[in-house]
Amino acid sequence: MTTMDQVLSQPLESGGRGPVTAARQRRTAIAYTAMCIVGYVPVLAGAPAGLQTFGLGLWLPGAGFLALGGAWSLLFPLVAAVFCVSCIAWFWAGMVVAPVTIWLGSALLAAAVSGDSIAASAPFTVPASALIAWSYFRVRTRRRRAAGQARFQARSSFVPRSWAEVRAQTAVRLDPAGRELSPDQVQFVRYALDRGLQPLERFDGFDVLDQFQPAALRYQLNHLGFALALYQTHYAPSFDGYLGQAQRNLIEKYLLRRVWSYWVYESCWGHLNFTDFDPVVRDNIMLTGWFGMHVGMYTMASGDKRYAEPGALTFRLNDRTAYVHDLHTIAESVAKGFERSDFCLFPCEPNWIYPICNHYGMTCLAAHDAAFGTSYVADHLLHWQEMLDREFTDDSGSYIGLRSEHTGIEAPFPAGEAGFAWFANCFAPERASRLWAVAREEIRPALHDDGSGVKRISLPGRGIDFGRYRFGHVADFATILLCAREFGEDDIAAGAERALELDCGVTREGGVKRYAVGSNLANALALQGTLCRTGDFRAVVVDGPPASVFAGPRLAEASYPEVLVAKAFSGDGESLELVLYPGGAPGAQTLRLSNLQPGRAYVADGRALVAGADGTASLEVTLSGRTALRISPRA
């Protein structure tokens, strides 16, 4: 039985751990106990001081210096602090060797400087320190579990009602024929188009910090791609032109070595692999899952399947080495990762399994299934969800942030339902609506009057914009906006939009809207939220635009930024409806149409138009404010 059979996930029975986690933690505990026993043998045997120091150093990082006594003891907290830093390096960049090196290295160093004997109290103080550390973590875990169980009880009281409300409101979707960008949305879409339409090797307008964690270029590229796929699917599905070019540029920028070469380093210090740096073969779902989803969404939105061709997504390391891939091999890598891992979910950086990145991975498979008729989701979802429930769900019923694959240890981070729900909606809509049923009730208390009679959201603390590691709530508001829109929660969405407008430095310069205090990643998220309406994100991944837009006339070319497209839609497969805005001064612009019936006569805004033998035609229009026109076959 899975927790999907319950209204809310039940707290886990085996001490808050699934069987795989419990086995890994047992293995870790056995290894640690063995280290302690082996480390204490030299003390019992009266071995030379150096050996005793090294042995006691195995009990805790830096404990060797504690064993030396005197002023050397001052190095114990210092080494412990350095060990914490090495653990950060471990999950920040998959540097598995860092904590091991610090722990063993400090024990060796202490042994090297030891004198004739260790401190008399050392055989007691070192084990006592280990006991204190263990007790501290045990007490913290117990408190956290108790708090989680109390939260579970509180949630149980509102989830059935809330879940029913979410199901009802997500049943209503907008008519695709009536979708059109507002002028404000047009200005915000330009933010993504500007970044996508620059030359491939340029990253102007991106935050360029580290390439390991959330500010990495790859995540910015992915989310800008998601935003443009939303725009194309729901507002301009009959538009190729610069919209297609911008999306392809974002995909092809991803293939540049500077974007993915972090994997060269992580392979070396995480997998101890110094020869094969193929980013698609092992772990690295933060690349395969995200990028596969990105390319899959482009494929669905545009109907363009070029990236499924062999070698279309080749990662070139240097003149001699290239890792040849395409959308199929990337999806296959994700599916194989699920099959190979004991946890089913598999790591991003070597060792660390993030449920959120595995949601991107499953969404990648959903997009691939929709585009190519495969059955990856049907083949893997049931087991994947069982493992998610058993191994990655805490006592409150929430998914945990991450777990160590090697040790089974969970990092104590409260991952929120809102961060998972919109992905889950792409492959498990029932579960997704349950996640949002929890999130909406816990977010709603943050809605309040902004003093002018309008509701806004306020969040505690200063927040962190993970796209540039600065304080700020832009990404938080953007995530809430996107998720609320996806599940038709209009009051919360409006509150998040209001908060963005009031707190996040909104500016509109040169016809482009942006949140000045936000990172590029946070702006991309906010754009997604601005474009999304009920069920839109799921629709990009699993439905794509209506078939009529691929059968009917298409807007093939228009100048950017002179011609801004608020709507391009063919609802009947024969005519084309356009709503355009001038990007600068009003005036005449030339459009190029394609996919017309060769030789057929059309009427465009009262003027006659005849398609060429190749099904194309040019059309001159005068843009002044909102300009609507319809191109339809002459009766």
Partner: protein, 105 residues
């Protein structure tokens, strides 16, 4: 999000801790906490515009100054520990400390 929820958690803790320390250090030697998030030059970029202005020189020197202040504080802590614990030959107990004496004064 990102795959990096725990990273954010840790970074958040570090930022918050550093922010707390900054408030305690007099004269803003470690920089003054900003009450509002600062604008991001990357987000200001638009296609066709001139390159966003580079970071002003005084900002760069400000960061350098703060780095030096941190280093100076660290040195003061070490000096304090030295005065507190007294001076002694840390290698005296080593039977053959030649390798160590080569790098210690």
């Amino acid at each position: 999000m990102a795959c990096c929820a725990f990273a954010l958690f840790i970074v958040g803790q570090l930022l918050a801790a550093f922010d707390g320390v900054r408030r305690l250090v007099p004269f803003g030697l470690l920089g003054r906490p900003r009450l509002l998030a600062e604008p991001n030059p990357a987000a200001a970029w638009q296609l066709g515009m001139a390159t966003v202005a580079a970071e002003p020189a005084h900002e760069r020197f400000g960061r350098l100054g703060r780095g030096l202040a941190i280093a100076a504080l660290f040195e003061l802590v070490l000096l304090g520990a030295f005065l507190l614990l007294g001076s002694h030959d840390a290698t005296a107990h080593l039977p053959d400390a030649a390798w160590c004496r080569r790098i210690l004064p």
